[in-house]
Amino acid sequence: MTYEEILTKYEPVVGLETHVELGTRTKMFCGCKTDFGAEPNTQTCPVCLALPGALPVMNRAAIAATIQIGLALNCDIAEWCRMARKNYFYPDMPKNFQTSQYDEPLCVEGYVDVVVDGKEYRIGIERVHIEEDTGKTLHVGGATGRIHGATESLVDYNRAGIPLVEIVTKPVPGLGSLAPEIAKAYVAELRDIVRALGVSDVRMEQGSMRCDVNTSLNLPGEEWGTRTETKNVNSLRSVERAVRSEIIRQAAILDDGGKIFQETRHFQETTGDTRSGRSKETATDYRYFPEPDLVPIAPAPEWVAELKAALPEKPSVKRARLREDWGISEVDMQSVANAGAVELIEETIAAGSSAAGARKWWMGELARRANELDVDLAAVGATPAQVAALQKLVDAGKLNDKLARQVLEGVVAGEGDPAEVMASRGLEVVNDTGALTKAVDEAIAANPEIAAKIRDGKVAAAGALVGAVMKTTRGQADAKAVRDLLLERLGVS
């Protein structure tokens, strides 16, 4: 069955769990720093190493950030809630439990609206809660770095205890064949909302935003199917691919009369499909109970109101403003947003590019390239500053469109800034009139019949000769200049 055929037969239900690492200066329960890339185990203390007798104290800024995320997602903020212990055995937490929230999340019942293909979809938010990140484990002795075949694990607890916010959607039915795109649009919107709050750098490629995707299929009119949870989905594009591949995989099993098992699957970046992991432990296996070492959280209404008043401009409002500034249609703006290009274009304009130029490169050549490379637009290999520099070279007449695309190709390939690539590849527009005149004269001499037609007033025939000149100059001439010169040499201008 093709993907389209599957979606005429089955209805997908999608849910997303997203983890956002907060950008606080210190950890959730202790004063250890949270700097990225520090030497292993240099940002730890008795609290985050779980040494006996150490007691945690909550970071006020992390609670404030969680409440702000909840408010920005239209959630209700709990008047009173508690932290909980999630017990499990795995060396990524030295405590043998993760301090999290269970049945009393800090924020509940919100929503995010996303627009895909001109239609608005409301994604319900079930809960937003605060917890702590785990340490980083490195499996050694095995060939793959994964746990299979590993003889031992090496653990760095610098990340253990960094505040982590989990945002869980309600299961979303009724998305049909657009489910993958809508899931991606939701994560892009969530990322933009959190980034606007300034509480996290939300960089999926660095792991400060991570996604788990739940997917199930059912026949129309029947109950929702058994869901699988796909972990390790670490880019916007992977969100879309993970949902799509899981729909296809499950449909093949169901069509064969098989059953879907509730399990954790791992997304494979290289192949774009999912692979089975451990079967999901049931909730009771974690033996959650209220954290006795931390007192309840009861945010004062005044504090919540203060945090709400301090919320920044919403990304959707900002987009409306930018759309006006850039002079583009709502549909075009939505595709810019869904491509994750809003900030990139904004920064390109700030670096001196025209709005049209910035949008053209990011949504055209670079989007196509990102698609080919299977990466997010932000990771395509060109920076806003480089794109602005490229557009400035075009504006200055040093590059035409075709040459500019070749320069951009070099930039993406890591050959340097546009000016460097232009110089090293010898791509500057030929403005030397002497060289051009020679090329034009050669073209006239080589095509006497066409030249005669033009002299007789059939100016439309000039295109063939312009093409010939562009060919001999390897595209490095300005087509209009060539045409003008050609007509001048033939005495018809």
Binding site: T26, P40, C45, N59, F89, P91, H148, P296
Partner: protein, 99 residues
Amino acid sequence: MAAISREEVAHLARLSRLAVTEEELDRFAGQLDVILQSVARVGEVAADDIPPTSHSVPLTNVYREDVPAPSLTQEEALSGAPDAYEGRFRVPRILDEED
């Protein structure tokens, strides 16, 4: 009726990574049952207006400011570890938890 079954004790022992013999299971199930029944009696006297208690002190909102405090050095952090390698804690591989 018992408050906890032998099977539940076996399940908890497995989750807690405790190696418990068949004899111990019988003994612990009985002991835990006595403890749980005793605690359950508190529920019999608690009226509806008494909410379940998770914290013995009536405090809420105890926070610290987001200001860095000194951490341990890498040597200090690893000093109590049974084994370490290149600045990291070295632990035996964990089976059947992932993949």
